[in-house]
């Protein structure tokens, strides 16, 4: 009975002490008061040896119960205190998440590089090799081997930059079609060819839609059985891939000295979608590509047997696609290299 009284006193004392606890240190002191070397519970346990043997189990059990009770109460308040402290710390860490993020230096690829890569990737996926030739070309490769002899009226359409003292000999290429002459020349087996040649070209022309330097891409496929229908399939796929699945494609007969038959390829107007606007001169169509079946003279001049091989070729100005795709009204903006212009191309294309 006496011990039970003792127990009640101890718990009452514990409750009284815990009421004024505010820090972990306070808890430690309370713990020491009861369980420490001189602690109340410790002292009580000293009495064990005075207890008769038959009483010892009962006393031991009581002692344990008191100990456990003290420990449990202390643990509980410790936990509560830790939680409180953590919450206070978190509260202190509070930040203004609406402040802007830290700027990281970002670069960008030039829009023409982006277009070039997009075109290359498409054709590479169809088994084309990307071919690059020199920008300084011979008149022979740029014109004569493409069935454009000296003084041919088709030369007028491309006012050319000849190099000094090299009139009708060497020039800055006026079209990437020069790749046709080179690729055929370089193919020693005179076997199948499947290439695209993107690159800079130069013409004496300068206004809002013409720059004296611009980018073209030329494609050439030579094999035994390729036909106009194959060319059509290829270019329809190209136009839809680049300009969107809804794009309609129209083939219109035309004339290029190095292809026969020749076609020009129109697509539904980028701006109005075909209903007619100022960009398409109310026709609903925009011309985007020149193409055709490689002229037998061109094949023969390239060392190919035109009775055995047929081929198709196509060419387009890449700047035009960039202007459409990114809504750039003036081609000179593309080559102006204003940093505010360049920085805008730091983002992914919309698929």
């Amino acid at each position: 009975m006496e011990e039970n009284m003792e127990r009640e006193n101890i718990i009452l004392k514990l409750e009284e002490k815990l009421e004024s606890v505010t820090t972990k240190n306070d808890i430690a002191q309370v713990k020491a008061y009861f369980l420490g070397y001189d602690g109340v519970v410790t002292k009580m346990s000293m009495k064990m040896k005075e207890i008769p043997n038959e009483e010892k189990p009962r006393f031991g059990k009581l002692l344990n119960e008191i100990k456990n009770e003290v420990v449990a109460r202390l643990d509980k308040i410790t936990l509560e205190m830790e939680e409180k402290e953590l919450n206070e710390k978190l509260e202190k860490d509070s930040i203004d998440i609406t402040l802007p993020g830290r700027k990281i230096k970002r670069g960008s690829l030039h829009p023409m590089t982006r277009i070039e890569e997009e075109f290359e990737d498409l054709f590479v996926s169809m088994g084309y090799q990307v071919y690059t030739g020199p920008e300084i070309e011979s008149d022979e490769n740029c014109f004569q081997k493409l069935n454009i002899p000296k003084s041919h009226p088709a030369r007028d359409a491309q006012d050319t930059f000849y190099l000094k003292d090299e009139f009708e000999k060497f020039l800055l290429r006026s079209q990437t079609s020069t790749a046709q002459a080179r690729a055929m020349e370089e193919n020693k087996e005179k076997g199948p060819i499947r290439i695209v040649c993107p690159g800079k070209v130069y013409r004496r022309d300068e206004d809002a839609t013409h720059s004296h330097q611009f980018m073209q891409i030329e494609g050439l496929v030579i094999d035994e059985g390729v036909s106009m229908a194959d060319l059509k399939g290829t270019l329809e796929l190209f136009c839809k891939h680049i300009l969107g699945e809804k794009t309609k494609v129209r083939f219109r007969p035309s004339f290029f000295p190095f292809t026969e038959p020749s076609v020009e390829v129109d697509v539904t107007c980028f701006k109005c979608g075909g209903s007619g606007c100022s960009l398409c001169k109310n026709t609903g169509w925009i011309e985007v590509l020149g193409a055709g079946m490689v002229h037998p003279n061109v094949l023969e001049m390239g060392g190919y047997d035109s009775k055995k091989y047929q081929g198709f070729a196509f060419g387009t100005g890449m700047d035009r696609f960039a202007m459409f795709k990114y809504n750039i009204p003036d081609i000179r903006t593309i080559y102006g290299n204003d940093i505010k212009f360049l920085e805008q191309f730091d983002r992914k294309d919309v698929d």
């Binding site: 920008e135 130069y202 106009m228 329809e236 004339f255 026969e260 020009e264 290299n337 204003d338 940093i339």
Partner: protein, 788 residues
């Protein structure tokens, strides 16, 4: 080429077709148009007669009453030539003119129910307006019918299509050619042209001769007519000329233009009385002088062809006649010339002197049969509309030996090229509709090409004819059946761009052409620059050798818009001439200036920023540990001599980098250019996994106080040598210059990391190497370790 619907209707019935239909159908077969529509884009216009004119005080305006048959309108008019009895154009309220819509209005308190118009107000091109037309309202002749539609009364109720023809279709530069093409589309036949005329009993042969002294003329025809009556052309000629964009002048001049439009054959009329009895066609002499019709003195070269009499040139063949033999109002006798001149020569001359309707046709090539047709048609019209008497006989020089072209066309080839299955009868029908004569065989056709189709000479040309009339849109598209091959592109070039983008640089694309003043800047290389033959401007007369002048210009441009934080790169070709050969090399240039570390605005890009970028790139490309940066005497003068160096890979220079010289640019701008062709000649090191040591590393710090001129690289080399294989990594973490040490000294602090791949290092093992390093460095550079 402007096609008048009325004009072509003289030869082919297209009356039931809308002008837009014709334009689109022609485009579908390869003849693209630029615009189409009514010749006069105005409506609600009537012929009206002015009944009374009353001046409005203190103005130049008049209050008029105008009769338009249905009613009499009050109209205010300011034209000086308005007068009672005048028949003129009345734009009724609601009329749409190029200048806007006409509405009822009140002018100076008077009601005005319309407008009296000049031809200019109808949108007629200035060149068609007489001086009278320009000054006032239009004056109809007295026989004009009041109340009639004014555009009809003017004879301008026509529609036109402006075609942009391809350079191979010279035959379409004629109404007849257009009629044949339309005939093929609509399966209609072309009417014959009237070539009848009578001749008088006097022969040209007795009074005139020609001599062709050049190889550049293979057909020359001349006829003479006398007693012409020069007057205004009949309306139908004037109207068709206007619709075709040519200004009517008088009946004789108009007929020469009219026949050119009909047949495509340019003609020239000489005043025969100002001409001797012989015409010579010859190459011009160098510096020969000729005053052309427009009164301009032309100095010719031997490339030009002239028509001359015995003493001097009287015309520039194919381009423009001479002033001395011009047909004038008092001209009586005319020599008609119809000839074919060498297209290349005409092209050169016209490019130099004047592009005309005539030269354009000569350049594209002409059909000799049309030359004969044209001269006869001139006689026909001159007889009918200029009372001409036509001398018998014709002066004729014909060295033209073009034969009928017969081409075999295989059905199999058509299908193989176009990728279609077209039936034989359709092919035959298409070719016949185009005027080809066709002989059918089992597998092929023998096709005779009409002489007007100079563009057709091989089987593929005929296939194109079949294809374009069959309809390119009807060809069912499919994909080529080709062997599977792996496509490829230059990955390295692409990866360089992407890496630099990742490092925060913006890619630029600038012009290859720069000024010759700039071409030697930012380089010390000796090279021969390449200039243009005929540059557009002095600013762009030379091909760049280095990309740096372009990047510096881009910097300056952006700076002028207060954009000072610039980090850009460009990949492109540099050009030069070497041993008479043109060379191009792929280069990579970088420019940085201003903020690069965006989080630390006070820290601007410097030499080490740029060096870090290029090191990142070279390491990425697989050249790690194979490059170095070398102070050099061979730095271009545009660079700061103390903040620039050469970039060395495997012992040879691949480029330069450094700060722009302060006297060149006051801003801190850093440049770099490497020759990618040279760089990429070196194969990158193989990329292999290196074992990650499982054993811990031990780090030691040490700072050496050395003479300022000693480079960190030389110290590192000594440390590396002394450190041996246990020394895993060296980094510099502090450079100190200041009052705690002597002014000619600097302190460089290194962090050295030691590691063994096979065991845990002990402190003793590390200290042994560490002490060896300290000893080597202090001995080598005669320096001390800085106390902590």
């Amino acid at each position: 080429m402007l096609l008048s619907k009325k004009f072509v209707s003289d030869y082919l019935d297209v009356s039931n077709l809308k002008i837009e239909e014709i334009a689109n159908d022609m485009t579908r077969v390869g003849n693209e148009y630029d615009s189409c529509g009514p010749l006069i884009k105005a409506s609600n216009l009537k012929v009206g007669e002015v009944l009374s004119v009353e001046d409005i005080p203190d103005t130049h305006l008049h209050k008029c009453v105008v009769d338009i048959k249905e009613e009499k309108l009050d109209i205010i008019c300011g034209a000086p030539n308005v007068r009672v009895g005048l028949k003129t154009i009345v734009a009724l309220p609601g009329a749409k003119l190029p200048g806007g819509e006409i509405k009822k209005s009140v002018i100076r308190g008077y009601e005005s129910n319309g407008m009296l118009c000049s031809l200019a107000e109808l949108g007629l091109d200035n060149k068609f307006l007489s001086s009278k037309d320009k000054e006032g309202i239009h004056e109809f002749k007295n026989d004009a019918i009041v109340g009639e539609d004014a555009i009809n009364a003017l004879g301008l109720d026509d529609e036109v299509i402006d075609f942009e023809l391809t350079s191979n279709r010279g035959d379409l530069l004629s109404i007849l050619g257009m009629a044949y093409e339309l005939g093929a589309i609509y399966k209609k036949s072309v009417k014959d042209i009237d070539l009848d005329f009578s001749e008088i009993d006097r022969s040209i042969d007795k009074e005139f001769s020609i001599s062709i002294d050049t190889s550049k003329c293979n057909l020359f025809l001349a006829k003479k007519v006398i007693d012409v009556e020069i007057k205004e052309s009949p309306n139908f000629i004037k109207e068709r000329l206007i619709a075709s964009g040519i200004r009517p002048i008088n009946n004789v001049v108009d007929i020469s233009n009219y026949v050119m439009l009909e047949t495509g054959q340019p003609l020239h009329f000489y005043d025969a009385n100002n001409l001797g009895d012989t015409l010579i066609v010859r190459d011009a002499k160098e510096h020969e002088k000729l005053t052309t019709l427009d009164g301009v003195d032309r100095i010719l070269t031997s490339d030009d062809i002239v028509i001359a009499d015995k003493s001097f040139a009287v015309g520039l063949a194919g381009v423009m006649g001479g002033l001395s033999t011009e047909v004038l109002d008092n001209t009586k006798d005319i020599l008609i010339e119809a000839a074919i001149f060498d297209s290349t020569s005409i092209r050169k001359t016209s490019k130099k002197i004047l592009r005309s309707e005539a030269s354009n046709r000569f350049e594209k090539g002409l059909d000799p049969n049309r030359t004969y047709m044209a001269i006869k048609r001139c006689c026909n019209l001159l007889e009918r509309f200029a009372s001409a008497k036509i001398l018998s006989g014709m002066i004729e020089y014909n060295e033209n030996n073009t034969k009928e072209k017969i081409i075999n066309l295989r059905f199999e080839k058509i299908n193989k090229v176009l990728g279609i299955e077209i039936n034989k009868s359709e092919v035959v029908s298409i070719l016949k509709s185009l005027g080809f004569l066709v002989k059918e065989n089992k597998d092929y056709l023998e096709v005779e090409v009409p002489s007007r189709r100079l563009d057709i000479s091989i089987e593929e040309d005929l296939i194109e004819e079949v294809g374009r009339l069959y309809g390119m849109d009807k060809i069912v598209s499919h994909f080529p059946k080709l062997d599977v091959v792996v496509g490829s592109y230059d990955k390295t070039k692409r990866e360089i761009k992407h890496k630099l983008k990742d490092l925060g640089l913006n890619e630029t694309v600038s012009y290859t052409l720069i000024s010759d003043c700039e071409v030697h800047k930012y380089t010390n290389d000796s090279f021969t620059p390449i200039k243009l033959n005929d540059p557009m401007s002095e600013e762009r007369n030379t091909l760049r050798y280095s990309l740096l002048p372009s990047l510096v210009n881009i910097f300056k441009y952006n700076k002028s818009y207060n954009q000072e934080n610039i980090s850009i790169f460009e990949m492109g070709k540099g050009f030069f001439k070497e041993n008479d050969e043109y060379k191009e090399e792929l280069k990579l240039a970088i420019l940085i200036s201003g903020e690069y570390y965006l989080d630390i605005p006070s820290k601007k890009a410097d030499f080490y920023t740029l060096k870090g970028i290029i090191e990142e790139l070279l390491d990425y490309l697989g050249y790690g540990n194979r490059y170095s940066f070398k102070v050099s005497d061979n730095i271009p003068s545009e660079f700061h001599p103390k903040q620039s160096c050469e970039i060395i890979l495997q012992g040879s220079s691949i480029g330069i980098m450094g700060k722009i010289h302060p006297s060149e640019m006051k801003e801190d701008v850093y440049l770099l250019e490497i020759n990618l062709d040279k760089l990429l000649k070196n194969s990158p090191s193989r990329m292999t996994y290196k074992d990650i040591s499982k054993y811990p590393s031990i780090c030691k710090d040490v700072a050496f106080v050395v003479k300022k001129e000693i480079s960190s690289e030389s110290i590192i080399n000594v440390i590396k040598k002394a450190g041996g294989k246990l020394l895993n990594k060296i980094s510099i973490f502090d450079i100190y210059v200041g009052n705690k040490i002597a002014s000619d000294l600097k302190s460089i602090a290194f962090n050295l990391e030691f590691r063994d791949q096979s065991k845990t290092l002990t402190e003793e093992e590390v200290m042994e190497v560490f002490n060896k390093i300290i000893l080597s460095v202090t001995k080598e550079f005669n320096c001390v370790v800085r106390d902590k």
